[in-house]
């Protein structure tokens, strides 16, 4: 058994001949899966419909009449009157920055923890994980004072650094798992070929760790995209607000009423980049693992 055939995406054992049983199985799969998927999507689909309903109707009992009153007023309100795309841009900058920075740093660290032994690695790993366990709210004041003295408050860069740090535990955990799943032979083979650290990571191991990297980027992006409390604390000028902050301010009226029309529309707008990113990263999961990378 050579390494070349070691990994293949799990597929039905017999390719090419699909028996009736297979087809029925396929049918059940599609039917059952579709039902489950629809169940999951239904609340969101309903929210999208709500986003096209004027705010005054949104809080009335749902009825067929609602469909007759669909309007894009919520969206035009958000985009034109409230410049929502400016905040979308801010959020994009922060989320992309966080995703990339987290991926790079976490990959390096995951590799280090998985493949190298050095004194204190257990402790450092534990300290990194502690980050996951801390409730934000407890650190807000000390963190604000610290970041203020470092000049990192009210800056998107500061936010990126903050978000990256809090996504590192997850990223490191995932990347470490990724590296652990790769057999020794591959990196050893590369070392035998004389590959340095960089080349080992980038060319040899890259296809194997891409699913992990994709997961890390996606999680970090989503985290930064939807994060609210940190942005609220550290950003002190309106023009740098991220999307969740901007939406929150738009949605609340003077006595605490919520404009649910804006909220649903804002959610749909916020959804779009995330779904796009997710679909874009899909292929790193679907492709499964490399075959034929190791020759001989």
């Amino acid at each position: 058994m050579t390494a070349a055939t070691a990994y293949r995406p799990a597929r039905p054992a017999r390719a090419g001949t699909r028996s009736a049983r297979d087809r029925i199985g396929s049918g059940f799969y599609l039917a059952g899966g579709t039902l489950a998927a629809l169940l999951f999507l239904l609340p969101l689909a309903w929210a999208v419909i709500r986003s096209f309903t004027p705010d005054s109707l949104v809080t009335q009992a749902p009825s067929a009449r609602d469909f007759g009153h669909l309007t894009t007023a919520n969206y035009s309100g958000l985009i034109q009157a409230n410049d929502i795309l400016h905040y979308v841009l801010n959020s994009l900058l922060v989320a992309c920055g966080t995703g990339l920075l987290t991926a790079v740093i976490a990959t390096l660290a995951g590799y280090g923890f998985a493949r190298f032994s050095f004194r204190g690695s257990g402790i450092v790993f534990a300290l990194v994980l502690v980050t996951m366990m801390i409730p934000f709210q407890a650190l807000l004041t000390p963190l604000f004072l610290e970041m203020h003295s470092l000049g990192l408050t009210n800056s998107l860069l500061g936010l990126v650094l903050f978000y990256t740090t809090f996504n590192l535990p997850f990223g490191v955990f995932v990347m470490r798992n990724s590296f652990l799943q790769i057999p020794w032979e591959l990196s050893e083979a590369a070392a035998v070929d004389g590959a340095g650290l960089g080349r080992t990571l980038m060319s040899v191991l890259r296809p194997l760790i891409l699913p992990g990297v994709a997961t890390t980027v996606l999680y970090a992006f989503l985290f930064s995209w939807t994060e609210f409390v940190g942005a609220l604390t550290f950003i002190t000028s309106n023009s740098l607000y991220t999307l969740p902050l901007a939406l929150l301010n738009l949605e609340y009226g003077s006595v605490g009423q919520v404009n649910f029309g804006y909220l649903e529309a804002g959610a749909v707008i916020a959804m779009v980049p995330c779904v796009l990113l997710y679909l874009g990263l899909q292929r790193f999961y679907v492709r499964g693992l490399m075959s034929g990378v190791i020759k001989g």
């Binding site: 705010d55 005054s56 809080t59 009335q60 050095f118 004194r119 204190g120 450092v124 807000l140 004041t141 000390p142 604000f144 004072l145 610290e146 203020h148 003295s149 470092l150 609220l232 604390t233 002190t236 000028s237 309106n238 902050l245 929150l248 301010n249 609340y252 009226g253 003077s254 006595v255 605490g256 009423q257 919520v258 649910f260």
Partner: protein, 438 residues
């Protein structure tokens, strides 16, 4: 590993020292701005933090001020809901507060008593309209006889009613209720219209909203829920007949099903929307609240307001809204005071109604003002009789779901157990006041 951590910890220690220096306690009282040039022809920039709920007003004021003052620029930052106090407090600790802040007036006591704000008494005494300033706002900005802020805008509670529904129910649309009994009977009449129409509405799961709209009736009856000033307060709930009367009114309204069912779970997020949709006869609410919800053409024609009455007459209002304050560590206090004075001028105050706010000077209530803004005139008239509780425990008492106010309301109105409710309210508030005093 050792080398790296060594360097890190040195850097860390340095930051720690810096931060400790920056956030050490400062209990000294702030210097009183006494010079004659204070607030006159100031230059530079002014950092102004306003609450998002006053967004329309703040943006308009800042734009106009900047257009008419070439040497002084105001930079506006809108603080997010529920975050106003925290961000202000943290910025003061970090030594980097704004020059002027528009703070929710009921939050003023938290800051006035520890030197966070500048003492403006001498400046305020020079104002010709000093006696016309909203008493509720001024009261909240006072500590130990000194003034640490001035009113910025007023967010007042009134009794809104639907004139169209009044007519349909055979009631006189120009004769709104002035007693609890009338509120009840008018609501009953409108409720009989059926077809999804209800006589009354309130945000039944929103403790802050209820505090805003139920208390004025108690004050109109001449009593408050606390006795004494901020330094030594006690609860005035047990045996408070005005409170009992108010709770009884709501109990009757609820048990007679004069409100929509989903009022019970309205935590404020959908407050007033059913009224704005024309389905409710009477709604205690804010002036600005309805301006946000309906078209200007509907004000005065379909919807009209009247002051919140007491049990048998009289009226009052909740002096909500914001106060202006200048943090002690402000970098441009003179510029801040110039801006504040400009905002309090009649010309600016006259613009308030259209922007969903009520002016803070009773002398702005001229016949022409009443003619142009009849709904806001109602609120402004009530301002003189308005009040806002001056206490350190306002949030804990009134705005928390688990607080004594809401517990009392729930027990009295939904469970119908008045004596238990008053008992809970008295002991709960007493406990909070004791904790705050310690």
């Amino acid at each position: 590993m050792k080398l790296l951590s060594g360097r890190i910890f040195t850097g860390v220690a340095a930051v720690l020292l810096l931060a400790a220096a920056g956030c050490s306690s400062s209990g000294s009282s702030s210097p009183a701005p006494a010079s004659a040039s204070f607030g006159v022809n100031a230059t530079g920039t002014v950092q102004f933090w306003a609450r998002t709920v006053s967004k329309t007003l703040a943006q308009k004021l800042v734009t106009e001020f900047n257009a008419t003052h070439p040497n002084l620029k105001v930079n506006l930052r809108l603080t997010s809901i529920n975050d106003d106090v925290t961000s202000l407090a943290t910025s003061i600790r970090a030594g980097d507060p704004p020059d002027v802040v528009g703070l929710n007036d009921i939050d003023m006591p938290t800051f006035t008593r520890n030197g966070s704000f500048m003492n403006l008494t001498s400046q305020i005494n020079k104002l010709p309209y000093k006696s016309a300033l909203s008493p509720g706002h001024i009261g909240l900005a006072t500590y130990n006889g000194q003034l640490y802020g001035v009113p910025y805008w007023a967010d007042l509670s009134v009794l809104w009613y639907n004139k169209t529904l009044f007519k349909q129910a055979g009631l006189n649309p120009d004769d709104p209720p002035t007693t609890y009994a009338q509120i009840l009977s008018d609501a009953q009449a409108i409720n009989k219209l059926g077809h999804g129409i209800n006589g009354f509405t309130f945000a039944g799961d929103c403790q802050g909203c209820l505090g805003f709209t139920v208390q004025p009736g108690i004050w109109a009856d001449g009593t408050h829920l606390t006795n004494g000033d901020i330094t030594s307060q006690s609860a005035n709930i047990a045996g408070n007949t005005a409170l009992e009367s108010a709770l009884t009114l709501y109990r009757n309204i609820w048990s007679q099903k004069l409100v929509p069912d989903n009022d019970r779970t309205d935590d404020g997020t959908t407050w007033g929307q059913d009224f704005a949709a024309g389905k409710i006869g009477i709604m205690p609410g804010g002036y600005g609240q309805l301006v946000d919800l309906v078209k200007p053409s509907q004000l005065g024609t379909e919807f009209m307001d009247t002051p919140l009455p007491g049990t048998n007459g009289g009226y009052s209002t909740f002096d909500g809204g914001d106060d202006f304050a200048i943090p002690s560590a402000a970098k441009n206090p003179s510029g801040a005071w110039e801006f504040i004075q400009w905002v309090m001028q009649t010309q600016q105050q006259d613009q308030y109604p259209a922007l969903g706010a009520t002016p803070v000077r009773t002398d702005v209530l001229t016949p022409s003002f009443s003619a142009k803004n009849p709904e806001d005139a109602v609120a402004l008239k009530a301002l003189a009789k308005g009040y806002a509780p001056v206490t350190l425990v306002y949030d804990q008492m009134f705005n928390q779901a688990g607080g004594p106010w809401f517990q009392m309301f729930t027990t009295a109105v939904y469970d119908g157990n008045m004596s238990l409710a008053l008992q809970q309210g008295q002991s709960g508030l007493t406990r909070l006041l004791q904790q705050a005093a310690s």
